[in-house]
Amino acid sequence: MSAVNIWERMLNIDRRWIFLGIGIVSIVPFFINFGMPVRTTIEVESIYDYVDELGSENAIFISFDFAPGTQAENMPMAVAVMRHAFYNDVPVFMTANWPLHHGMMLAAMEYVFNPTTEGFYQDIDFDDWRELREAGVTAKGDLVDAWESQGNQLPDGAMGWVFEGRDYAALGYAPVFNLVILGMTISIETQYPIDAHENALGEMPMLQEHKSLREVDLTLTCSGSAACEWWITYAREKIGMPVAFGVTAVSATDYFPYLQTGQVIGQMGGLRGAAEYEVLLAENGITSSTDKAFTGMDVQSVAHILIILLIIMGNIAFFAGGFHKKALLKEGR
């Protein structure tokens, strides 16, 4: 077998080997953690710093504007900011702009509240603390004291209590969502008389303190499409509401102009953006460790390296085999 033949065979490699390679390098890092450091960028730090400044008198919106297809990128962003807010007792309103995205919101809550998740938050149903609420105990500190004095104990491993209606409200999906945003600039309650669990919003202490988007300090839109622009058009441009983007890597470049003009306070781009937020949370002790996005970055590193190796090999074979002088190769498999 001549040397040229080896190069030729390399160039005409059955692409199923490439598929197999990508498959393997994408699975392995889930079992072996490399934990390669992720450097944080100013775009993500500015969201982190902004949220970090907030306290229980503030409130934020997290909008789930993504479908299961881009879940791997968008979900960790929402989860990370949710945790950050809960840690600082910032009330969180959660919305979704499409029926399918409503399911994503529920999945995020299930993850953060699930006792098997590391650093979970113990969720208290709206109905379970009705008595305390009706007795007028609504401030977070008092509420926790009163709740614990009733004999409730924080489970092992939990980061803290979250009270539905005090710390979060799952508003979910409402039709024609761009108009819903517009309506919420006036009143949240008229758009969502009840939340996804059919609790009356009017009874929620967090709503009484934050009646419209004007009284909310930030919206994070985790978006797999151009829906994030709705928040700019209908909330930022109309009432000057601060908006942060959590978008997929593919659309991240499109939104740099918004950052430049200050219409967006910060942006998490793709899995990397989410990983950066996780790193910031872990570094500041808000979570004990990083999460899915950070693990995913190992996959990214390895997969990128594999692709670059493939490109280099392809070029070596191409030149070493002298194909740059020759006619076209026959097509692969």
Binding site: I22, S26, P175, T248, K292, G296, H304
Partner: protein, 209 residues
Amino acid sequence: MYETIGIWVGAIFTLAIYSFLYKENSIYRLAEHLVVGISAGYGMAITYQITIKPRLVDPLLSGDHWILLIPGILGLLYITRFIPRISWMSRYPIGFYMGTAMGVGFPLTMKARVLRQLEGAMVPLYQSGMAWYEVTGNVVMILGTLAALIYFFFSKPHKGLFFGTGSKIGIWVIMVGFGATFGFTVMGRISLLIGRIQYLLGDWLHVIE
């Protein structure tokens, strides 16, 4: 129980699609045909439920929105397509849709794709506090835009100093842009795979968190 069966079915169909990577096969073929049927059927159901029923049928039945008969009839004209003798009538709704869509699009395109882009290309080269690479970047951006525009010039041959060199630089800039976009997209595409692996290994097999 419902959820468990659901995840099993979903996982099986996920693998069915991945089997296409190895070879086109009968399981992929089944998944392919099923998803075509289901999605088209879902489209029909959802179109009726979110458009035709609340926007046409309900208002008409309530009795005082007779004006909606116009779009209703116009819409029904599509169906004349199945009757060859009067199939030309289906051009009416298409015409309505085409005309209005073109009209709505015209000023918006002028604003977003022309004026806004022109505005973006007219940036100051230097402002105090800019690093050297930002200044060179601005120069590259402006000259690059000009060169790439020359490439899209159709009424002159690409010869001579201005059009020849210009269009050559233009295609270089375009290629660098394409390379960068390609490279940048890789991360997003790998993330999609990560999502499916989390579904298969996590939700289905529970071997990872």
